[in-house]
């Protein structure tokens, strides 16, 4: 059974590779490469997979889930400039893909040893663009 909790945070970012010119970065990232940055109201959906506990009837304690997301993601990222304030985005381009993968990396340890497992992270950058990340070894890997 799947359980999804939705949260929001607001953050600014700029998508650009340090070795490229502004024109080259604009060709890859469009307006997201504009050097001073810009912001989004990100919407985060965290999905857990598990079976309801026979006593509590719950897959996972919702209050605890809220605190895990708050501690791992919202606290560090909300109202921040990702490139300057949230590692590894001083070195890694904060595309929606990389932010979703980083959120997964920050959340996953909290569910180790629990009956529920982290199943999917869905990150909306805008209502017309979202990424689903469910772990695996493809993050940060170069295209073959």
């Amino acid at each position: 059974m799947l359980l999804t909790r939705k949260t929001e945070f607001s953050a600014s970012h700029v998508c650009a590779q340090p070795g490229l010119s502004l024109e080259q970065n604009r060709a890859i990232y469009g307006a997201a490469a504009n050097p001073s940055g810009h912001g989004h109201n990100y919407v985060l959906e965290v999905t857990l997979d598990g079976e309801p506990d026979p006593d509590t009837g719950m897959i996972f304690d919702l209050q605890q889930l809220k605190e895990i997301i708050q501690h791992a993601v919202i606290g560090p990222m909300d109202h921040r400039f990702l490139n300057y304030e949230v590692p590894p985005f001083d070195k890694v381009v904060p595309t929606t893909e990389n932010v979703a993968a980083e959120i997964w990396k920050r959340l996953a340890p909290a569910f180790a040893g629990s009956s529920a497992r982290l199943y999917n992270v869905r990150l909306f950058e805008t209502e017309d663009l979202y990424v689903d990340y469910s772990g695996g070894n493809d993050a940060g890997r170069e295209r073959p």
Partner: protein, 143 residues
């Protein structure tokens, strides 16, 4: 795995009427959608692509390339058109949402490799929302 989903919109009119059926049969089968002058919808199209996150760009897909492909192959031809008359595929095929999905898949696949010269992601799924109550989805078979 990483999947990126992008949402597009187009407004179009259509009429559901099959040459294989009589007028009464068409009326019974398609109901109001068979009304002779057609009617329209604000369609929402979601295209999901899947692939590795490129280690340098941090992207599954170049968004400008994906947007350009969908615009050229679908939105430019469908938006503010009467599908039955203005889109060649629907002169022969009834423009149900199921068939529109199939045409969109064919049109995207026809230019897929050309659109992403530096490496194409997999086309994972396409969703077409005809109204708030009706959504249709096509999914690639898992490899």
């Amino acid at each position: 795995m990483t999947t990126l989903t992008r949402r597009y919109k187009f407004a179009a009119s259509h009429r559901l009427d099959s040459s294989r059926y009589s007028p009464d049969q068409n009326r019974a089968l398609y109901g109001k959608c068979n009304n002779p002058f057609g009617h329209g919808h604000d369609y929402t199209l979601e295209v999901s692509v899947r692939g590795p996150i490129d280690g340098i760009s941090g992207q599954v897909v170049n968004l400008a390339a994906l947007d350009g492909l969908v615009r050229r192959q679908v939105v430019d031809d469908f938006d503010h058109r009467y599908l039955n008359a203005d889109v060649r595929e629907f002169r022969e095929v009834v423009p149900t949402s199921e068939n529109i999905l199939r045409v969109i898949e064919d049109r995207l696949r026809a230019q897929w490799l050309n659109a992403f010269p530096s490496g194409a992601p997999d086309l994972e799924s396409i969703r077409l929302r005809e109204t708030a109550r009706n959504t249709f989805e096509w999914k690639a078979i898992e490899k």
